[in-house]
Symmetry: C2
Subunit: 231 residues, 2 copies
C-alpha cells in the first residue's frame, strides 16, 4: 500500500537487526561483568579467560537455541491458532460473525454498515480467518526460515560481543591492568552499541548509549562487589 | 466480547508467566554451563562458587534491566507511532482513507461497502487512529506498569534458576562430585521446567521438557569441553 515516504517504517528495521541487538547487548554485558567479578576473587588472568570462554560458549548456545525454540514456538502457536479459527468459522459461524460485528461496532460503525461489512468479510473462509488472525488475535504469519537464521544471528552476536571484554585478559597477564583495559574497551563498546541501537530504534542515540553503558556498568559493578565479598 | 469457553486464551497466560519463563530458562542454563566449564579448568569449588555467583548477579541485572529497557522502548515506540498516526490523519487524511480502503479491499469488500466503512471509521479521529495502530501497525497499547514489574520478575527468576546448578558446589567440596550433583539437580530442574513451560504454551509437555534439557545439556557440554581444552 502507498505510504508517505519515511513513514511507518518497521520497528528496528528487520528481525535480523533485532537479533543482533539482543545477542550483542547480553554478550557485551554478562561476560564483562563475569570477568570483572572473577578478577575480584582470583589473581590469575588464566582463570578469568577459562571462565569467560566457558561463559561465552554457554551463553551463545543457550541464547541461540533459546531464540530458535522461541521462533519455532511462535510458528507452532500461529498454526494451532489458525486451525482453531478455521474450526470456529466452520462450527460456530454465527458466533464469529457476532465477534466481527462487535469489533466494528466498537469503532463506530452503524447497523446497516455493520451488516454489509460482516457479510463481505465472512464470504470467503480464508480471508475471514486471515482477518481474525490479524485483527482479533494480533498475530502475523511467521517466516518459517526465521528460526535457524535467528538462532545463528543471536549466537554469533553474543559470541562476538563477549570477546571484547575478554580480549584484555588474553593479552595482558597482570589482572588489575587487564581489568582496567576491559572496563575501558567495554565501556566504549557499550556506548557505541547503545548509540547505534538508539539510532535504529528511533530513540535518542545519546540517551540510548548512556543507558546501555549504565546497564553494563551496574551489572559488572555488582558482580565485582559480590564476588569480592565472597573471595 | 463473548467467546466459546476455553477458546482464544492468550498465549502463555500473562506477561508475568512469560517473564518467569524467560528468566528461569537462561538462569538454569548459563550458570549451569559456566560452573561445568570452570570445573573442567580448575580444582577448587571455591572458584566455581565465586564465578557462579558473579555470573548470577551479572546475568540477573543485565537481563532484568534489559527487560526494563525493552518494555520502556515498546512504550516509547507506541507513543511515537501514535503521534505519527494523529499527524498523518490530520495532515494527509485522503492518503490514510485510501490506506483504509486498500486494507478492506484486500479482504474482499466491494466499492459501495468500502465507502461506508471508510466514512464510518474515519468519522472520529481517536477511533480512526486506534484502528490504524491496531490493524495497520499491529501495535497494542503497553501497560505503563509493566516495565518495572517485568524487570524484577526476570531478574528474580534468573537468580533463583541460577542457584539450582550452583548449590552443589557450595555444599560439596569435592569438585567432581559437585559437578555430578549439579548435572543431576539441573537435569531434573530443566526437565520439570520445560514440561511446565510446554503445558503453559500449549506445546506437548514431554517434547518441551526434552528440548529444554537438550539446550541446557548442549550448552554445558560445549562449555565444559572448551574450558577443558584451554585449562
Amino acid at each position: 500500500m502507498p505510504t508517505v515516504p519515511h513513514i511507518e517504517k518497521h520497528f528496528l528495521g528487520t528481525q535480523t537487526v533485532r537479533d543482533v541487538v539482543i545477542g550483542m547487548a547480553d554478550g557485551l554485558t554478562v561476560p564483562f561483568a563475569l570477568a570483572a567479578g572473577i578478577s575480584a576473587a582470583v589473581a590469575s588472568t588464566h582463570i578469568v579467560v577459562a571462565a569467560g570462554l566457558a561463559e561465552i560458549v554457554a551463553g551463545s548456545i543457550a541464547m541461540g537455541l533459546g531464540g530458535y525454540l522461541a521462533a519455532r514456538t511462535d510458528q507452532e502457536h500461529f498454526v494451532s491458532e489458525e486451525k482453531r479459527e478455521y474450526f470456529e468459522v466452520e462450527r460456530v459461524p454465527e458466533q464469529e460473525r457476532s465477534e466481527l460485528r462487535d469489533i466494528f461496532a466498537s469503532y463506530g460503525l452503524q447497523s446497516s454498515e455493520l451488516d454489509a461489512v460482516v457479510v463481505a468479510l465472512s464470504a470467503d473462509k480464508k480471508r475471514w480467518v486471515d482477518f481474525m488472525m490479524r485483527f482479533e488475535l494480533g498475530l502475523e504469519r511467521p517466516d518459517p526460515k526465521r528460526a535457524p537464521l535467528s538462532a545463528m544471528t543471536i549466537a554469533a552476536s553474543y559470541f562476538i560481543g563477549g570477546l571484547i571484554p575478554l580480549a584484555p585478559y588474553v593479552i595482558e597477564t597482570d589482572i588489575h591492568r587487564a581489568l582496567l583495559f576491559s572496563v575501558a574497551f567495554t565501556g566504549v563498546a557499550l556506548l557505541v552499541f547503545g548509540a547505534v541501537k538508539g539510532t535504529l530504534t528511533g530513540v535518542n542515540w545519546f540517551k540510548s548509549g548512556l543507558q546501555t553503558l549504565l546497564v553494563g556498568g551496574l551489572a559488572a559493578g555488582a558482580a565485582y562487589y559480590l564476588a569480592g565479598l565472597f573471595a
